[in-house]
Assembly symmetry: C2
Homo-oligomer: 394 residues x 2
């Protein structure tokens, strides 16, 4: 393989919020642990509403069939291919010029290994597992170039949580000799990568802190009957006041106290959680509930840093990406709760906050073709560093 | 890659009958279209009954969840890895010595593209798709060698039926300069590969003829309350007489008259079909129903050869593999209906009838690592020959 030269790659992902497919077209130079990456074009393709509704349904546990899962997998393959072609068109790079496509797919189930004694049981169906949809063979056929997909399974097969995977990319792109950094991604779920000053990859760690936008988005969708899908700029939350009893009850849950590594998803903080802790407050004002969800995200992020990060490493800066970085109210609350840190948007580092995860999977796919591992065992809890993903050749 | 030397490979498959996992350990020599293959060891690992019952359930359309599909995928990965380790132990070859593992996995849904006008509709959820379970990353982790899996998706992404895939292997191993051959595999579904005398790969064709053992097995399971899973040697069928009205009604179905390429599965001939055409005959004797199912398999095979094969090529021999080759009664009926052909078991060609499909996926995986295509477009209907499967590296 001629991978020494600069190369084009596309990264594709739809996150837990299931709004649509993020596609990043990037230029990569350099090998091994010294890549340089430039974002060349970025597009988000919203899901057709019918597809999105079924995805939200099956991901929150509603009854389905192997026929539906199989059809959704192939239909999503076509939609991910559409997004890939759209970002190539936007960047005026022919798909055939790509060296690799990294497609995360759409997670519809994810359960990491339990950290307690349960994991010792030798039962076939109590194991950790993960399931992403978006058939890679369909993308490879339409692009005519290799596709790497299914990034989480190998880490999980090696005993890891299968998540988060972006930390290695944070490390490669954000490490600094003198400044300790935390990369915070606020998607449906919020996660952090901790990169101590002058760190080697083995001292990087990271974990999911809990809900990011998932609960806020769910409430907005509920109260607008799905006419809106998120609280733009946090304006709605800004009009409410936090409901302290709800907040206290949630923050006492074991998830928040459990030390890393840990990962979360729609299984923990999806519609069931929303119904139980928020929608059950029938007399509460919508604004107060949305404000409470925003406060929960900010508080659980700040608490996680104080509990699990600051005792381990001197941190100077907090670099925020993901859709939540566009929520001014949420960003303000995080700044209030962590006044000792310099708060930046990942935009300042050349990566628009929305594009970071898609960029990450382009870079992880490039590593897989190089035969390099893509997980950080200290982050995921895996027994060893492993090559991520499965390669489909056109 | 050093693939010029002789190499060890394992092939793994569980067929539509879902009895358990066939594992073949083979030695391969030669490159490209001239491989030589020796079967070194063969094992079948029955599924744990609880897993088998759930697989039969979800494959015949019963309600499930993404959680169950995800967990079954990882649980089957472990069981396929168990089968791989068992056959390595039996053959006294350390798993680390393998060059590749080809794992077909367990099909739980398969629907080829419709050949009529429906395929022109541009609806996201009316597309052809296929779904195999048995997470390859789990197998790769436990073996420490590359695994190729998910063989059917690439052919389907190129417009093919995704099946049958064994014909290329039949061609590579059974072609003869002067004798025309039909390779007949009788698994849950029966399929044929037609290899005219002196044929190049482009004149090979093949298709599914309809039910193989699926209906007989389903009836035996029904009448014994699952104490038996198949009619050993066809003894039960031999005691009955065929129900002509049932047989005639089924043989008039469009599937049997449709010209190849065509593929079938549990979707067409599973529990729903069994209930509709067989179990609805409440006054019929079990032996008569089983005899009718056997007759249907034999007749649909013989009819398919007379309709779609003999007009195309002079055929001298019929080489039978799959579990159905062990059903003496069924073999006798096929011999009666096709007296002009020499009937052989694939055992005579060095491959025990039960092991052929597992051997085939070992060889197809070896081709994928060589970057060679594994489908025959004339057989599957694909637009082009494509590299099959996804590669997971340990």
């Amino acid at each position: 393989m001629t991978i020494h030269r600069a190369r084009w790659a596309v990264g594709l992902i739809s996150g837990t919020s299931m709004d649509g497919i993020d596609a990043a077209l990037v230029r990569i130079e350099g090998l091994g642990d010294c890549p340089k990456v430039w974002l060349h074009a970025f597009r988000t393709l919203p899901y057709p509403p019918a597809i999105r509704n079924r995805l939200l349904g099956v991901a929150s546990g509603s009854a389905t069939s192997t026929q539906e899962i199989s059809m959704l997998n192939f239909a999503l393959g076509q939609l991910f291919a559409d997004a890939m072609l759209a970002v190539c068109r936007q960047g005026r790079v022919s798909p055939g010029k790509l060296d690799v496509i990294g497609s995360h797919g759409q997670t519809v189930f994810h359960q990491g290994p339990s950290t307690g004694s349960v994991s010792k049981r030798r039962s076939h169906l109590s194991q950790a597992s993960t399931l992403q949809l978006g058939e890679a063979a369909v993308i490879a056929e339409r692009a005519g170039v290799p596709v790497v997909a299914d990034f989480r399974a190998a880490d999980m097969a090696a005993g890891g949580q299968g998540a988060p995977l972006v930390p290695l990319v944070d490390y490669l792109l954000l490490r600094h000799e003198e400044l300790g950094s935390v990369a915070l991604n606020i998607g449906g779920i919020a996660n952090v990568t901790v990169i101590p000053a002058g760190a080697g990859s083995q001292s990087v760690f990271g974990f999911d802190t809990g809900p990011g936008n998932m609960l806020m988005d769910g409430l907005v969708r509920h109260f607008t009957h799905a006419r809106k899908t998120y609280d733009e700029g946090g304006k709605w939350a800004a009009q409410g006041k936090p409901l302290k009893p709800v907040l206290d009850r949630i923050l006492r849950l074991p998830f928040f106290r459990r030390p890393p590594p840990k990962s979360a998803g729609r299984e923990q903080f999806g519609s069931e959680f929303l119904a139980r802790y928020f929608l059950s407050q029938r007399k509460a004002e919508p604004a107060d509930l949305i404000r409470t969800a925003a406060e929960l995200s900010a508080r659980s992020i700040a608490d996680a840093l104080r509990r699990f990060v600051f005792p381990q490493a001197k941190i100077h800066r907090l670099i925020v990406s993901g859709g939540g970085a566009r929520n001014g109210f949420l960003m303000g609350r995080i700044r209030d709760l962590l006044p000792e840190l310099d708060l930046h948007l990942s935009d300042n580092y050349g990566f628009p906050a929305d594009a970071k995860e898609a960029i990450a999977f382009a870079l992880l796919a490039d590593r897989t073709l190089q035969g390099l591992p893509g997980n950080l065992p200290a982050v995921t809890g895996a027994r060893r560093a492993v090559i991520l993903g499965k390669i489909s050749r056109p």
